[in-house]
Every structure is written in C-alpha cells, then in structure tokens.
C-alpha cells in the first residue's frame, strides 16, 4: 500500500488554494489547505505534512514570513522542506540583496503563478 506524501498549502486566496491543490493531487499528493497563517500553523501540528507551501502576502504583506518563523520553531515544522510563494516582483526580504540575519530559511521561493510541471518537479525534488 503506497501512502501518499502530504503537502500543506497556506494561502488566503481560496481559489489559488483550489487551483494549486488540483495540480498537486494530480501529481499524487494528499493536500491540506489552510486559509490563514494561524490555522496553517495549527494544521501543521495535526497533519504532519511532508512539505508546506506558504504564501508570503496574506493578511499583511509579510504574514507568510511569520508563519515560516513559527513553523521553523515547532517540532513538526523544524524538519520539513518549506516553499515560500510570492507575487511577481514583490519587494520582500527574500528579494533584497542583503537579507536580514534573522530571516527564517525556506528551501525555495517561487513566484506566482507557478507552471504546473515546475511545481510538481520542485515539490518532487524536495519531498524526495
């Protein structure tokens, strides 16, 4: 019996969640959705995902940044690969030349929209 790898998606845009979920499910993943940072962090504890994808800009432009910090300091979030999503040319800390030192590390930053095959390829590489 093959157990599917679990991916947690955190984004405040329901439609974006749905569109991305469809792609990941087609790619053979079990997908969990959270519409805000707080429930995303909670859900990470309960579902133990193999990977989390977090949108940078939710309630505030850097909410995703807080979520990543919380995930990285939690038991479950410490180990798993994280992907940060950002809208085109968002001038967030990940784009600046000298990132602040306390920036929590993510494994990959992707720009929205993401090509379906790119997304599946990157996720595949990260969850192994």
């Amino acid at each position: 019996m093959d157990s599917k790898k679990k991916v947690l998606l955190i984004d405040d845009d329901k439609d974006f969640l749905m569109a991305t979920k469809l792609i990941l499910e087609k790619g053979g993943y079990e997908v969990f959705l959270a519409e805000d940072g707080k429930s995303g962090v909670e859900m990470a504890k309960s579902v133990n995902p193999n990977l989390a994808i977090v949108d940078m800009m939710m309630e505030t432009w850097s909410e995703g940044f807080n979520v990543v910090s919380k995930l990285r300091t939690s038991e479950t979030g410490k180990q798993i690969p994280l992907i940060m999503l950002s809208a085109v040319d968002l001038q967030g800390p990940y784009q600046s030349f000298e990132p602040p030192e306390d920036l929590p590390t993510v494994d990959l930053v992707l720009h929205k929209p993401i090509k379906a095959d790119d997304l599946l390829r990157y996720v595949g590489q990260l969850v192994g």
Partner: protein, 368 residues
C-alpha cells in the same frame, strides 16, 4: 478660533505706543496679544509661544525685520507673518512678502484696519492648514492606491493563471483543437492584462518616487547583449534578423541594471512587432566626450511624422483603433520615464515604409 482658545497674536515693534495701541485694539476683539520691542526677544517669544500671527516692524534700530521674517517663516511654516511698514517703504514690504510674509500693514493704521488684516491672516492660516492636510491625505491615498492595486489586481490574475495551469494538467488530454486554442488565447490576453498592470504600477511608482533603482557604473554592451538574448527566440520565430554593432570599449554610465534591461527589451520588442519577416533590427552603441549612445534601428513600417511627437504618451497608438492590441500601451512611457531618471534622453526618428530608429542618450561616466 482654533480649539476654543483665542488666537494668539505677536507684535514686534520698537515703538511702545504702537505695541500698546495694537494690544488694545486686538484684545478688544477677543485675541490674546503678546508683544516685544526687541527683534531677538521677539523671535524667542515666537518660538516659545507659537502664535498664529506675527506683526513685524521692518524698521527697528537694532535688527532687521527682514531677517526676523526669514528666520521665523523657516522655523514655523504655519505662522502668518504680516509686515508693519511706513508708506515710504512699500518696496521693502514686497521684498518681505517674497521672503515669506503674507501681508503688510502700512503706518499709520486705524484699529479697524489692524483688525481687518488680522482677520484675513487668521482665515488664510486656517485655509493653509486645511490645504496642507488635504494634500497629505491625497498623497497618502495615492500610495495606498498603488498598494491596493498591486494586491487587488494582481491576485485575481495570478489565480486565473493558476486555474488555467491546473485545467491544462487535469484535462490536458481532452482539451484538443479549438478547446486548446481557446485556452492559449485566454492565457495570452491574461498575460497582456498582467503586463498592463505591471507597467502601470511601475509608472505610478516612478511618479510618486517609490520606484527603487540602484545606480551603479554599468557597461551598456552587457545589458544590451542580455536583452538581445531574451529577444532572439522571438526574432527567430518571426524571421527577423537581430544584430549588434558595438563600439569597442564603450565607456560606462551610471544606471540601474534591471530597469535599463527592461527599457532595451521594450524597444527591441516594439521593433519586432512592426518589422515584417525578413526585416532587420540593429542595435548600435557609440559615444562622444559627453554621452554614450544606444541606437535601435528597424526596417519596419515606420511611424508617420505627425504621430512621432506623441509616441511616448500613455496608451497612444500610432495606427489608432485599427491597431491590434499588441502591448500594454505603456512600454514607451515607462522607457521615457526611466531615461529621465537617468538624466538621459530618448528620441525617435522614422521614415514611413523604411523603418524607425530609437536613440537613447546617457551621460558618460568619468571614473576617477
């Protein structure tokens, strides 16, 4: 009167009789009055008490009223300054108004004249404060509007694109022929709309000063090569020759790499749109003692002389409504604004049926 307090009026004059007269006339009308017969002390008083209006005598024995006006209007931009002057010195009253005084009161004056000038001064001050706060509010709204647009207009576009991606993945097998064609047309139109939003945002940012540009010494040849690499596949598809003729050891300029790359790509992109198959786009660089030149020439359909002056205007289309919507309509506007920000120039010359040449001129950088 503001906040229920009586308006405070400061009077600086070396004649005690004037001070007394003004005090009586103004206090009778409900103003609070402070006075000083000495210039330096008067300035100190203005700083401490922050009166709404100050009357300043231009001719005092120990100091110049003109200096006081300059000092006070610089320190306290909201204060209304009124010059007290003799009839013989109207010229200096005008000079004082240039330095920031709002009005003048010629000696001798009656209490009614004093009160009339005071009333007008207070109204002026209130209007000025209101206008300032409206202007600040307007600036704040403009900034918020840009943020709003960037989020509220981009997100639905991004989401639609993501849905199309998922649709192609989950239904790719059944989306054939016309259906596949419809999807790809949708994608193109969405991409155009996204370009429009991005260009519009860039221009708004340039206009309100939040467009970030890092100016460093740059080799334009390198950026042009990069831009040509980006445009080459498109040119090959359209069977257009894209070639370069660079001056060896082109001097550097001071600029922002990213925005200049977009300017070049924009102009080469434009050239590809109006150049027929078999045509040619040539990118040349040159310099003289003052400027570095980039010239982008095409053998396309050209621009009529009477349209040339308008091509940098937003949404201007050379061929009017007949022209298929080929771009955002803001590419050249963006390019011109970026060139302005580089203290450069962009000019177009064209001959209908023969081609168009864009010349971009950058101040040459002399490195010490």
């Amino acid at each position: 009167m503001e906040q229920g307090f009586p308006s405070q009026i400061l009077i600086i004059d070396d004649e005690e009789s004037i001070l007394d007269g003004c005090r009586q006339a103004l206090e009778k009308s409900g103003y609070s009055v402070i006075t000083s017969s000495d210039g330096a002390e008067g300035v100190k008083l203005a700083r401490e008490k922050k009166p709404e209006i100050a009357f300043i005598d231009l001719k005092m024995p120990n100091c110049s009223g003109m200096d006081i006006i300059e000092l006070v209007s610089r320190d306290m931009p909201d204060i209304v300054l009124i010059v007290i002057t003799g009839y013989a010195s109207i010229v200096s009253a005008v000079e004082a108004m240039k330095k920031g005084a709002y009005d003048y009161l010629p000696k001798p004056f009656t209490p009614d004249q004093l009160r009339a000038v005071t009333k007008r001064g207070i109204e002026h001050r209130q209007l000025k404060i209101e206008a300032d706060s409206l202007r600040e509010e307007k600036e704040r709204m403009e900034k918020n509007f840009i943020t709003f647009v960037s989020h509220e207009m981009r997100s639905p576009l991004v989401t639609i694109q993501q849905y199309i991606e998922s649709l192609k993945l989950i239904a790719g097998d059944i989306l054939t022929g016309d259906a596949a064609d419809i999807i790809s047309r949708c994608e193109k139109r969405i991409q155009n709309l996204q370009d429009l939003v991005e260009h519009w945002l860039d221009i708004s940012r340039i206009e309100n000063g939040t467009f970030s540009q890092a100016k460093v010494p740059l080799d334009l040849t390198e950026i042009l090569e990069h831009s040509m690499d980006e445009m080459n596949p498109l040119c090959q598809r359209r069977e257009i020759i894209l070639e370069a003729d660079h001056k060896a050891e082109l001097p550097k300029i001071l600029g922002d790499h990213e925005s200049l790359l977009r300017v070049f790509t924009n102009i080469i992109g434009n050239a590809t749109k109006y150049t027929p198959a078999g045509g040619r786009i040539t990118v040349r660089t040159d310099c003289d003692d003052y400027y570095v030149y980039v010239r982008i020439e095409d053998t396309g359909q050209g621009i009529p002389q009477d349209k040339l002056p308008f091509i940098f205007e937003p949404f201007f289309r050379v061929h009017g409504k007949q022209e298929r919507q080929k771009g955002s309509g803001l590419g050249l506007t963006f390019s011109k604004k970026i060139m302005d920000a580089h203290n450069g120039y962009i000019e177009a010359a064209s001959q209908e049926g023969a081609g168009t040449a864009f010349t971009l001129k950058f101040p040459r950088l002399y490195e010490l």
